[in-house]
Protein backbone atom coordinates (compact mmCIF):
# COMPACT_ATOMS: atom_id res chain seq x y z
CA UNK A 1 0.00 0.00 0.00
CA UNK A 2 1.23 3.47 -0.75
CA UNK A 3 0.66 5.94 2.03
CA UNK A 4 -1.75 8.13 0.11
CA UNK A 5 -5.44 8.37 0.82
CA UNK A 6 -7.92 7.49 -1.94
CA UNK A 7 -8.06 10.21 -4.63
CA UNK A 8 -11.47 11.54 -3.62
CA UNK A 9 -10.25 12.08 -0.07
CA UNK A 10 -6.90 13.44 -1.21
CA UNK A 11 -8.75 16.07 -3.29
CA UNK A 12 -10.74 17.15 -0.26
CA UNK A 13 -7.61 17.31 1.90
CA UNK A 14 -5.97 19.57 -0.70
CA UNK A 15 -9.03 21.83 -0.70
CA UNK A 16 -8.92 22.17 3.07
CA UNK A 17 -5.23 22.99 2.85
CA UNK A 18 -6.17 26.22 1.04
CA UNK A 19 -7.71 27.59 4.23
CA UNK A 20 -5.69 30.01 6.38
CA UNK A 21 -3.42 28.33 8.97
CA UNK A 22 -4.58 24.86 7.92
CA UNK A 23 -1.66 22.53 7.30
CA UNK A 24 -1.61 18.97 6.00
CA UNK A 25 -2.42 17.35 9.37
CA UNK A 26 -5.40 19.57 10.11
CA UNK A 27 -6.66 19.17 6.54
CA UNK A 28 -6.48 15.37 6.92
CA UNK A 29 -8.39 15.59 10.18
CA UNK A 30 -11.10 17.76 8.61
CA UNK A 31 -11.47 15.59 5.51
CA UNK A 32 -11.60 12.35 7.49
CA UNK A 33 -14.12 13.89 9.86
CA UNK A 34 -16.34 14.94 6.96
CA UNK A 35 -16.20 11.45 5.49
CA UNK A 36 -16.58 9.46 8.69
CA UNK A 37 -18.88 11.61 10.81
CA UNK A 38 -20.77 14.25 8.83
CA UNK A 39 -24.30 13.44 7.70
CA UNK A 40 -24.69 13.02 3.96
CA UNK A 41 -27.21 15.90 3.74
CA UNK A 42 -24.82 18.19 5.63
CA UNK A 43 -22.05 17.37 3.16
CA UNK A 44 -24.39 18.26 0.29
CA UNK A 45 -25.29 21.54 2.02
CA UNK A 46 -21.57 22.25 2.45
CA UNK A 47 -20.92 21.58 -1.23
CA UNK A 48 -23.86 23.75 -2.29
CA UNK A 49 -22.81 26.60 0.00
CA UNK A 50 -19.43 26.67 -1.73
CA UNK A 51 -21.05 26.50 -5.15
CA UNK A 52 -23.49 29.33 -4.63
CA UNK A 53 -21.00 31.64 -2.94
CA UNK A 54 -20.04 33.71 -5.96
CA UNK A 55 -23.47 33.69 -7.58
CA UNK A 56 -25.20 34.94 -4.42
CA UNK A 57 -22.65 37.31 -2.90
CA UNK A 58 -20.77 40.21 -4.45
CA UNK A 59 -18.33 42.89 -3.39
CA UNK A 60 -20.02 46.25 -2.78
CA UNK A 61 -18.88 48.57 -5.56
CA UNK A 62 -18.90 51.52 -3.22
CA UNK A 63 -17.06 50.28 -0.12
CA UNK A 64 -15.70 46.76 -0.67
CA UNK A 65 -18.01 45.09 1.88
CA UNK A 66 -19.66 41.79 0.97
CA UNK A 67 -23.15 42.26 -0.35
CA UNK A 68 -26.13 40.48 -1.84
CA UNK A 69 -26.63 43.33 -4.30
CA UNK A 70 -24.21 45.62 -6.16
CA UNK A 71 -24.28 48.07 -3.26
CA UNK A 72 -24.24 46.74 0.31
CA UNK A 73 -26.90 47.33 2.97
CA UNK A 74 -24.73 49.83 4.84
CA UNK A 75 -23.99 51.96 1.77
CA UNK A 76 -27.69 51.81 0.81
CA UNK A 77 -28.79 52.97 4.25
CA UNK A 78 -29.80 56.64 4.16
CA UNK A 79 -30.05 56.77 7.95
CA UNK A 80 -26.27 56.47 8.15
CA UNK A 81 -23.84 59.36 7.80
CA UNK A 82 -22.25 58.96 4.38
CA UNK A 83 -19.78 61.77 5.06
CA UNK A 84 -17.98 59.78 7.76
CA UNK A 85 -15.99 56.77 6.52
CA UNK A 86 -14.29 54.20 8.74
CA UNK A 87 -11.49 52.43 6.90
CA UNK A 88 -10.86 48.79 7.85
CA UNK A 89 -8.54 46.10 6.51
CA UNK A 90 -11.14 43.36 6.19
CA UNK A 91 -14.84 42.57 6.01
CA UNK A 92 -14.38 40.71 9.30
CA UNK A 93 -13.23 43.95 10.97
CA UNK A 94 -16.30 45.71 9.56
CA UNK A 95 -18.61 43.09 11.07
CA UNK A 96 -16.78 43.28 14.40
CA UNK A 97 -17.28 47.07 14.45
CA UNK A 98 -20.96 46.64 13.52
CA UNK A 99 -21.44 44.33 16.52
CA UNK A 100 -20.49 47.24 18.79
CA UNK A 101 -23.60 48.92 17.37
CA UNK A 102 -22.28 52.43 17.98
CA UNK A 103 -20.86 53.64 14.67
CA UNK A 104 -23.38 55.32 12.38
CA UNK A 105 -21.17 56.32 9.45
CA UNK A 106 -20.23 54.12 6.49
CA UNK A 107 -17.17 51.94 5.85
CA UNK A 108 -14.41 51.35 3.39
CA UNK A 109 -12.79 47.89 3.21
CA UNK A 110 -9.18 47.89 1.95
CA UNK A 111 -9.11 44.10 1.63
CA UNK A 112 -5.63 43.82 3.09
CA UNK A 113 -2.79 45.98 4.36
CA UNK A 114 0.55 47.04 2.98
CA UNK A 115 3.03 44.25 3.76
CA UNK A 116 6.59 44.15 2.47
CA UNK A 117 7.09 40.59 3.69
CA UNK A 118 3.97 39.34 1.90
CA UNK A 119 4.59 41.55 -1.13
CA UNK A 120 1.32 43.43 -0.75
CA UNK A 121 1.60 46.99 -2.04
CA UNK A 122 -0.74 49.94 -2.55
CA UNK A 123 -2.00 48.66 -5.87
CA UNK A 124 -3.23 45.46 -4.25
CA UNK A 125 -5.54 47.37 -1.92
CA UNK A 126 -9.01 48.73 -2.59
CA UNK A 127 -8.32 52.47 -2.36
CA UNK A 128 -9.48 54.14 -5.59
CA UNK A 129 -13.22 54.36 -4.79
CA UNK A 130 -12.36 55.89 -1.40
CA UNK A 131 -10.15 58.46 -3.07
CA UNK A 132 -12.88 59.27 -5.59
CA UNK A 133 -15.31 60.09 -2.78
CA UNK A 134 -12.73 62.34 -1.12
CA UNK A 135 -11.91 64.09 -4.42
CA UNK A 136 -15.61 64.72 -5.02
CA UNK A 137 -15.83 66.41 -1.63
CA UNK A 138 -18.29 63.80 -0.37
CA UNK A 139 -16.42 63.10 2.87
CA UNK A 140 -15.94 65.04 6.12
CA UNK A 141 -13.96 62.51 8.14
CA UNK A 142 -11.89 59.42 7.38
CA UNK A 143 -11.32 57.24 10.45
CA UNK A 144 -8.33 54.95 9.96
CA UNK A 145 -9.17 51.69 11.76
CA UNK A 146 -6.46 49.45 10.35
CA UNK A 147 -4.89 47.01 12.81
CA UNK A 148 -2.31 48.03 15.42
CA UNK A 149 0.28 45.89 13.60
CA UNK A 150 3.28 46.88 11.49
CA UNK A 151 1.17 46.37 8.36
CA UNK A 152 -1.81 48.25 9.74
CA UNK A 153 0.31 51.18 10.92
CA UNK A 154 2.16 51.37 7.60
CA UNK A 155 -1.13 51.40 5.73
CA UNK A 156 -2.57 54.07 8.04
CA UNK A 157 0.53 56.26 7.56
CA UNK A 158 0.35 55.82 3.79
CA UNK A 159 -3.34 56.78 3.69
CA UNK A 160 -2.70 59.80 5.90
CA UNK A 161 -0.03 61.00 3.44
CA UNK A 162 -2.30 60.32 0.48
CA UNK A 163 -5.20 62.27 1.97
CA UNK A 164 -3.12 65.21 3.26
CA UNK A 165 -3.74 67.37 0.20
CA UNK A 166 -7.52 67.06 0.38
CA UNK A 167 -9.92 68.94 2.60
CA UNK A 168 -10.85 66.00 4.81
CA UNK A 169 -10.33 65.31 8.51
CA UNK A 170 -8.26 62.16 9.02
CA UNK A 171 -8.36 60.41 12.42
CA UNK A 172 -6.90 57.18 13.80
CA UNK A 173 -8.66 54.91 16.30
CA UNK A 174 -7.08 55.00 19.76
CA UNK A 175 -4.54 52.46 20.96
CA UNK A 176 -4.21 51.65 24.64
CA UNK A 177 -4.96 49.29 27.45
CA UNK A 178 -7.74 46.83 26.60
CA UNK A 179 -10.72 47.10 28.94
CA UNK A 180 -9.99 44.86 31.94
CA UNK A 181 -6.32 44.82 30.97
CA UNK A 182 -3.66 44.54 33.66
CA UNK A 183 -0.69 46.87 33.09
CA UNK A 184 1.80 44.28 34.31
CA UNK A 185 0.69 41.86 31.59
CA UNK A 186 0.51 44.33 28.71
CA UNK A 187 3.27 44.57 26.10
CA UNK A 188 5.47 47.64 26.20
CA UNK A 189 4.38 49.06 22.87
CA UNK A 190 0.73 49.06 23.93
CA UNK A 191 1.69 50.69 27.21
CA UNK A 192 3.66 53.35 25.37
CA UNK A 193 0.67 54.03 23.10
CA UNK A 194 -1.60 54.19 26.14
CA UNK A 195 0.75 56.68 27.78
CA UNK A 196 1.07 58.81 24.67
CA UNK A 197 -2.68 58.83 24.24
CA UNK A 198 -3.43 59.92 27.81
CA UNK A 199 -6.26 62.38 28.29
CA UNK A 200 -7.36 64.81 31.02
CA UNK A 201 -9.21 63.01 33.76
Amino acid sequence: MNNKYPDALENLIESFEHLPSVGRKTAERYALYVFMHMKEEDIIDFSNALNSLHTDIHICESCGNISEGKICKICSDNERNHRQILVVESVKDLFTMEKVNEYKGIYHVLNGAISFSKGIGIDDLNISSLLDKVKNGDVDEIILATNATLEGETTAKYLKELLKSYDVKVTRIAHGLPVGGDISYIDELTLLKAFEGRRDY
Copy 2:
Protein backbone atom coordinates in the same frame (compact mmCIF):
# COMPACT_ATOMS: atom_id res chain seq x y z
CA MET B 1 -28.05 46.54 9.35
CA ASN B 2 -28.42 43.34 11.30
CA ASN B 3 -25.14 41.76 12.25
CA LYS B 4 -25.56 38.64 10.16
CA TYR B 5 -23.61 37.87 7.03
CA PRO B 6 -25.47 37.34 3.75
CA ASP B 7 -27.31 33.99 3.70
CA ALA B 8 -24.92 32.32 1.25
CA LEU B 9 -21.98 33.13 3.49
CA GLU B 10 -23.89 32.24 6.64
CA ASN B 11 -24.59 28.78 5.17
CA LEU B 12 -20.91 28.24 4.49
CA ILE B 13 -19.98 29.41 8.00
CA GLU B 14 -22.43 26.88 9.45
CA SER B 15 -20.92 24.12 7.31
CA PHE B 16 -17.42 24.93 8.54
CA GLU B 17 -18.73 24.89 12.11
CA HIS B 18 -19.38 21.15 11.69
CA LEU B 19 -15.63 20.49 11.56
CA PRO B 20 -13.86 19.30 14.71
CA SER B 21 -12.62 22.11 17.01
CA VAL B 22 -13.92 24.78 14.63
CA GLY B 23 -15.99 27.39 16.46
CA ARG B 24 -17.95 30.33 15.11
CA LYS B 25 -14.93 32.65 14.81
CA THR B 26 -12.76 30.18 12.93
CA ALA B 27 -15.67 29.23 10.69
CA GLU B 28 -16.19 32.92 9.85
CA ARG B 29 -12.50 33.28 9.06
CA TYR B 30 -12.56 30.21 6.78
CA ALA B 31 -15.73 31.26 4.95
CA LEU B 32 -14.55 34.83 4.41
CA TYR B 33 -11.20 33.56 3.22
CA VAL B 34 -12.86 31.26 0.69
CA PHE B 35 -15.00 34.12 -0.60
CA MET B 36 -12.35 36.83 -0.66
CA HIS B 37 -9.18 34.96 -1.55
CA MET B 38 -9.77 31.51 -3.04
CA LYS B 39 -9.75 31.19 -6.82
CA GLU B 40 -13.14 30.39 -8.34
CA GLU B 41 -11.84 27.11 -9.85
CA ASP B 42 -10.46 26.03 -6.46
CA ILE B 43 -13.85 26.66 -4.86
CA ILE B 44 -15.48 24.50 -7.53
CA ASP B 45 -12.90 21.75 -6.91
CA PHE B 46 -13.63 22.01 -3.18
CA SER B 47 -17.38 21.68 -3.81
CA ASN B 48 -16.87 18.73 -6.15
CA ALA B 49 -14.54 16.96 -3.72
CA LEU B 50 -17.27 17.10 -1.10
CA ASN B 51 -19.88 15.92 -3.56
CA SER B 52 -17.97 12.91 -4.81
CA LEU B 53 -16.80 11.79 -1.38
CA HIS B 54 -19.45 9.16 -0.72
CA THR B 55 -19.75 8.00 -4.31
CA ASP B 56 -16.01 7.38 -4.65
CA ILE B 57 -15.00 6.16 -1.19
CA HIS B 58 -16.44 3.42 0.95
CA ILE B 59 -15.75 1.76 4.29
CA CYS B 60 -13.91 -1.56 3.92
CA GLU B 61 -16.36 -4.30 4.87
CA SER B 62 -13.58 -6.34 6.39
CA CYS B 63 -11.65 -3.87 8.55
CA GLY B 64 -13.38 -0.46 8.59
CA ASN B 65 -10.60 1.34 6.69
CA ILE B 66 -11.55 3.80 3.94
CA SER B 67 -11.46 2.20 0.53
CA GLU B 68 -12.16 2.79 -3.13
CA GLY B 69 -13.63 -0.72 -3.43
CA LYS B 70 -15.69 -2.86 -1.05
CA ILE B 71 -12.49 -4.30 0.43
CA CYS B 72 -9.52 -2.00 1.06
CA LYS B 73 -6.05 -2.31 -0.45
CA ILE B 74 -4.56 -3.63 2.79
CA CYS B 75 -7.17 -6.36 3.27
CA SER B 76 -6.80 -7.31 -0.43
CA ASP B 77 -3.02 -7.60 -0.14
CA ASN B 78 -1.98 -11.27 0.02
CA GLU B 79 1.59 -10.31 0.88
CA ARG B 80 0.40 -9.15 4.28
CA ASN B 81 -0.15 -11.42 7.28
CA HIS B 82 -3.92 -11.71 7.68
CA ARG B 83 -3.55 -13.62 10.96
CA GLN B 84 -2.14 -10.56 12.74
CA ILE B 85 -4.61 -7.71 13.32
CA LEU B 86 -3.69 -4.32 14.73
CA VAL B 87 -6.72 -2.59 16.25
CA VAL B 88 -6.84 1.22 16.00
CA GLU B 89 -9.44 3.81 16.92
CA SER B 90 -9.40 5.71 13.64
CA VAL B 91 -8.44 5.60 9.98
CA LYS B 92 -5.98 8.39 10.76
CA ASP B 93 -4.19 6.12 13.25
CA LEU B 94 -4.04 3.41 10.58
CA PHE B 95 -2.41 5.78 8.09
CA THR B 96 0.04 7.00 10.74
CA MET B 97 1.05 3.39 11.43
CA GLU B 98 1.40 2.72 7.68
CA LYS B 99 3.80 5.66 7.38
CA VAL B 100 6.16 3.84 9.76
CA ASN B 101 6.30 1.19 7.02
CA GLU B 102 7.12 -1.61 9.45
CA TYR B 103 3.90 -3.42 10.19
CA LYS B 104 3.00 -6.20 7.75
CA GLY B 105 -0.22 -7.54 9.28
CA ILE B 106 -3.70 -6.16 8.65
CA TYR B 107 -5.81 -3.66 10.62
CA HIS B 108 -9.14 -3.24 12.28
CA VAL B 109 -10.60 0.26 12.67
CA LEU B 110 -13.00 0.66 15.62
CA ASN B 111 -14.11 4.11 14.44
CA GLY B 112 -14.06 5.52 17.94
CA ALA B 113 -13.43 4.53 21.53
CA ILE B 114 -15.63 3.87 24.53
CA SER B 115 -16.37 7.21 26.17
CA PHE B 116 -18.80 7.69 29.02
CA SER B 117 -18.62 11.47 28.76
CA LYS B 118 -19.45 11.43 25.04
CA GLY B 119 -21.97 8.61 25.42
CA ILE B 120 -20.07 6.27 23.10
CA GLY B 121 -20.59 2.63 24.06
CA ILE B 122 -19.62 -0.77 22.69
CA ASP B 123 -22.48 -0.84 20.22
CA ASP B 124 -21.25 2.36 18.58
CA LEU B 125 -17.91 0.78 17.71
CA ASN B 126 -17.04 -1.43 14.75
CA ILE B 127 -16.27 -4.68 16.57
CA SER B 128 -18.46 -7.45 15.10
CA SER B 129 -16.39 -8.23 11.99
CA LEU B 130 -13.28 -8.46 14.17
CA LEU B 131 -15.03 -10.87 16.50
CA ASP B 132 -16.21 -12.97 13.55
CA LYS B 133 -12.62 -13.42 12.36
CA VAL B 134 -11.53 -14.46 15.85
CA LYS B 135 -14.44 -16.89 16.20
CA ASN B 136 -13.57 -18.45 12.84
CA GLY B 137 -10.04 -19.08 14.10
CA ASP B 138 -8.60 -16.79 11.40
CA VAL B 139 -6.45 -14.79 13.83
CA ASP B 140 -3.22 -15.52 15.74
CA GLU B 141 -2.61 -12.13 17.35
CA ILE B 142 -4.66 -9.04 18.09
CA ILE B 143 -2.52 -5.98 18.82
CA LEU B 144 -4.49 -3.34 20.73
CA ALA B 145 -3.25 0.04 19.49
CA THR B 146 -5.95 2.29 20.90
CA ASN B 147 -4.77 5.62 22.28
CA ALA B 148 -3.08 6.00 25.66
CA THR B 149 -6.08 8.01 26.88
CA LEU B 150 -8.83 7.12 29.33
CA GLU B 151 -11.07 6.21 26.38
CA GLY B 152 -8.38 4.21 24.61
CA GLU B 153 -7.42 2.29 27.76
CA THR B 154 -11.06 1.54 28.59
CA THR B 155 -11.61 0.26 25.06
CA ALA B 156 -8.44 -1.87 25.19
CA LYS B 157 -9.51 -3.37 28.53
CA TYR B 158 -12.96 -4.13 27.20
CA LEU B 159 -11.58 -5.83 24.08
CA LYS B 160 -9.14 -7.86 26.19
CA GLU B 161 -12.07 -9.13 28.29
CA LEU B 162 -14.12 -9.85 25.20
CA LEU B 163 -11.33 -11.87 23.55
CA LYS B 164 -10.28 -13.76 26.70
CA SER B 165 -12.40 -16.81 25.94
CA TYR B 166 -10.96 -17.28 22.44
CA ASP B 167 -7.71 -18.90 21.42
CA VAL B 168 -5.99 -15.71 20.29
CA LYS B 169 -2.96 -13.85 21.62
CA VAL B 170 -3.87 -10.30 22.70
CA THR B 171 -1.10 -7.71 23.03
CA ARG B 172 -1.03 -3.97 23.77
CA ILE B 173 1.41 -1.50 22.19
CA ALA B 174 4.01 -0.19 24.62
CA HIS B 175 3.71 3.08 26.49
CA GLY B 176 6.75 5.03 27.56
CA LEU B 177 9.06 7.91 26.94
CA PRO B 178 8.76 9.32 23.41
CA VAL B 179 12.01 9.12 21.44
CA GLY B 180 14.01 12.26 22.24
CA GLY B 181 11.79 12.82 25.29
CA ASP B 182 13.22 14.50 28.37
CA ILE B 183 12.18 12.85 31.63
CA SER B 184 11.83 16.17 33.41
CA TYR B 185 9.24 17.32 30.91
CA ILE B 186 7.21 14.13 30.71
CA ASP B 187 3.91 13.72 32.57
CA GLU B 188 3.87 11.40 35.55
CA LEU B 189 1.54 8.82 34.06
CA THR B 190 3.79 8.32 31.05
CA LEU B 191 6.79 8.05 33.33
CA LEU B 192 4.99 5.45 35.45
CA LYS B 193 4.11 3.47 32.30
CA ALA B 194 7.71 3.76 31.12
CA PHE B 195 8.91 2.45 34.48
CA GLU B 196 6.42 -0.41 34.56
CA GLY B 197 7.33 -1.39 31.03
CA ARG B 198 11.10 -1.45 31.70
CA ARG B 199 13.05 -4.24 29.98
CA ASP B 200 16.43 -5.89 30.48
CA TYR B 201 19.17 -3.80 28.97
